[in-house]
């Protein structure tokens, strides 16, 4: 454990998590502003390539020292990864430590794993972070949402372990482990601390699922003791849902197991205007961060210059914060928010009639 703390303080980048699995708990890599950082970019399908172009444009206009390594989803299944993502793409993310992913359409068929599942398992992405903040300038029924949902991404109800006991009776296993719960709780408190958040709420249903959610809560409580400056509370999931739709200002950072996280993060995205505006970032073992746009690939508007790049842009800002390039991140974020707040350049999905290039140009101008 002393060795872990030593490593955390120095933030050494080269120790792979295979050598010291228990100590790979440092969470972000500090980047010195002078050298360029390589980041993997998966443009994705549909509107993916266009909005990735927008991100590249904004980054170069802001002078962000990032060099993109682009990888595309292949059309053949790579036997080493059992999916359409090649081994080289995954190695690239592991090497660079950061990545940005556009929307990917899931190919139908058997004999391969889904793309998201491949990324999650191969890169060990254990936490999904989604900050939901109301965008001034895009009016929804809720004006003052400012919360972050952190969802455990590897186990829980989505373990995929189901079987038919006898005809007409199916069992599905929900697994909760101490290790995974501790890991995500640590990340949640660390995130709260580094982003100036005051409160972390653990969402659970431990009154009914005593042992499983009870274990999750125990782990959260243990981690909470290490951060006495952050308020910790526990909220039952049904109460949480109700409070979120009545008064979202009651929440700050939410940490939850897999299924509740899925539902609550989508609910929160709905509060601010949908998945087209919500950024998201997946944190993996060894401090890997893969920011992504969670909306679909929208094949019907692909290539027509109508797409809204906001979600991918905000996700790339999250990526910059992970790299501790905070001033660049703030600059770009303010540019995006003021462009939307101004209301002059809005894409079709927000009710305006600007094209994607106009919107991107407006963001660059606001820098």
């Amino acid at each position: 454990m002393a060795l872990c703390r030593l490593l955390q303080r120095n933030s050494i980048n080269q120790i792979s998590n295979r050598v010291l699995p228990c100590c790979s708990q440092y969470f972000s890599t500090a980047a010195s502003p002078s050298e360029t950082i390589r980041a993997t970019l998966f443009p994705g399908d549909g509107i993916g390539p266009e909005i990735s172009e927008s991100v590249k444009q904004v980054f170069s206009a802001a002078g962000v020292p990032i060099e993109w390594e682009e990888h595309f989803v292949g059309d053949k299944v790579d036997p080493r990864t059992e999916s359409f993502l090649t081994w080289e793409s995954l190695e690239s993310v592991r090497r660079n430590g950061v990545g940005l992913k556009g929307p990917m359409a899931t190919p139908i068929g058997k004999g391969h794993r889904s793309l998201n599942l491949t990324l999650r398992k191969e890169l060990g992405l254990y936490a999904n972070v989604r900050p939901c903040t109301s965008l001034s300038g895009y009016k929804t029924r809720y004006d003052d949402v400012n919360l972050v949902t952190i969802r455990e991404n590897t186990e829980g109800e989505y373990s995929g372990l189901e079987h038919q006991v006898v005809r007409g009776v199916v069992e599905s296993l929900k697994i909760i482990t101490r290790q995974a719960s501790l890991r995500v709780a640590e990340y949640a408190f660390h995130y709260a601390k580094t982003n100036g958040r005051q409160r972390v709420s653990a969402i659970h249903k431990a009154n009914i699922m005593r042992k499983t959610d009870g274990l999750f809560l125990k782990c959260c409580r243990e981690v909470a003791e290490k951060y006495p400056e952050i308020t910790y509370e526990e909220v039952i999931i049904d109460n949480c849902c109700m409070m979120l739709v009545k008064n979202p200002t009651l929440f700050d950072v939410l940490v939850m197991p897999n299924l509740y996280g899925d539902i609550i993060s989508d609910l929160s995205a709905g509060l601010i205007g949908g998945l087209g505006l919500t950024p998201s970032c997946n944190i993996g073992e060894g401090g890997i961060a893969l920011a992504e746009a969670v909306h679909g690939s929208a094949p019907d508007i692909a290539g027509k210059n109508l797409a809204n790049p906001t979600a991918l842009l905000l996700s790339s800002v999250m990526m910059l914060r992970h790299l501790k390039l905070n001033d660049k991140a703030d600059q770009i974020q303010n540019a995006i928010l003021s462009t939307i707040a101004e209301g002059k350049h809005r894409t079709v999905d927000l009710g305006g009639n600007s094209s994607k290039t106009d919107f991107t140009k407006a963001v660059c101008d606001h820098l």
Binding site: K174, K211, D266
Partner: protein, 379 residues
């Protein structure tokens, strides 16, 4: 329910003296429609008072069940209550309570507190399993006069109540690894689907939506969906569609008017019901109940916070509206429709006027003040 209550509401407003000082909107409503003309023809003897088991429960339970009792007396409803004390910290529900419910077939209950994290299993869940109350129904709708962010909400959430994630089968595999079994059976999925479609048919509802996560839990929720699809073919007049639970929650906060009746397995039903209750006005006003083949237990609709907190109990400021509307549902279930209508109309009038509202609705009244207002509004 809102549609049927309005004609009576207007009738009351036209006749009562309050119409003179009522705002122009109410007056317009009052003069618009005529008196209800369809009559309920009872069989001789239907008016004999029926026994109903009453469980006050914990926290604000005794307060709100007391409110129901007062209003029932004021209405001279043909219902009398057999009260039993049950508290959340008991090991099991006492057998005499179960026996009483089996005899009376109908029960009205306040919330039972469940200890978090360990010890006794939830008494609410125990009661439902013991009496096989397999369908839980929550009716979420906008109350006229109550300002909410969402309008045109009229959703009924029908939730499977006995199996699914709440099977209670958990164990520690090795220290630090815990498993919980989610059990889905064709038998339970089929009967809840049948109940949902039957409810829609009998209440003139146009659409049933099944909520699931079958893209991830392919076998378990896949079984649930299969059963729903089978039952849907037997009701060609009712539209059927399916929605994934995370998308469903997102749609609920952005476009709730697209939902009508929703049928869900156990856990998702809990979340969806509480979300729908939240957008329509809060858990303090949504009625609901649990029903099985032979018994029915009525309680506050959505379960979040139904035992309230200590301050609410001390200051006696709990919201009785949910339980009053649930008791109106109970009266209709017992086939006393005119009493049910009167009670609902009175409650809605009190909310519409806006003078007596508890804290969760933005007012500052105590429970007793709301009850007195309801009794005064009864015709």
């Amino acid at each position: 329910m809102a549609r049927r209550g309005l004609p009576l509401l207007r009738h009351i407003l036209r006749d009562s003296a309050a119409a003179a000082s009522a705002p122009p909107l109410l007056k317009a409503l009052a003069s618009a429609e005529s008196r209800r003309s369809v009559t309920y023809m009872p069989r001789p003897g239907d008016g004999t008072p029926r026994a109903v088991t009453l469980i006050p429960g914990d926290g604000i339970g005794p307060l709100v069940t007391g409110a129901v009792r007062q209003v029932m007396e004021a209405m001279h409803a043909p219902v009398y209550f057999e009260t039993y004390e049950v508290h959340g910290d008991m090991d099991t529900v006492p057998p005499e309570v179960i026996q009483s419910i089996r005899k009376n077939k109908v029960c009205l209950k306040g919330g039972l507190a469940t200890p978090v994290g360990g010890g006794v299993s939830s008494l609410n869940v125990q009661l439902r399993k013991e009496l096989d109350l397999y369908a839980s129904l929550v009716h979420c709708f906008n109350l006229p006069g109550l300002p909410t962010r969402h309008q045109n909400v009229d959703i009924v959430v029908i939730r499977e109540n006995t199996e699914g994630e709440y099977s209670g089968l958990e164990h520690e595999v090795v220290p630090g690894v815990v498993e919980s079994l989610k059990v889905m059976t064709k038998f339970c999925s089929e009967r809840i689907a049948k109940y949902a479609f039957e409810y829609a048919y009998l209440n003139n509802r146009k659409k049933v939506t099944a909520v699931h996560k079958a893209n991830i839990m392919k076998l378990a929720d896949g079984l649930f969906l299969e059963s729903c699809r089978e039952v849907a073919t037997k009701y060609p007049g009712i539209k059927y569609n399916e929605i994934i639970v995370d998308n469903c929650c997102m749609q609920l906060v952005s476009k709730p008017e697209q939902f009508d009746v929703m049928v869900t397995p156990n856990l998702y039903g809990n979340l969806v019901a509480n979300t729908a209750a939240g957008i329509a006005g809060g858990t303090g006003v949504m009625p609901g109940g649990n029903v099985g083949q032979d018994h029915a237990v009525f309680e506050q609709g959505a379960s979040a916070g139904n035992v309230g907190n200590q301050k609410m109990v001390e200051k006696k400021k709990a919201n009785p509206v949910a339980l009053l509307l649930s008791s109106a549902m109970m009266l209709r279930h017992l086939q006393f429709p005119s009493f049910a209508d009167r009670l609902e109309t009175a409650v809605k009038l009190v909310i519409l006027e806006g003078e007596y509202r508890t804290k969760d609705l933005g007012g500052d009244s105590t429970t007793q003040e709301v009850v007195d207002a309801v009794i005064a509004a009864l015709d």
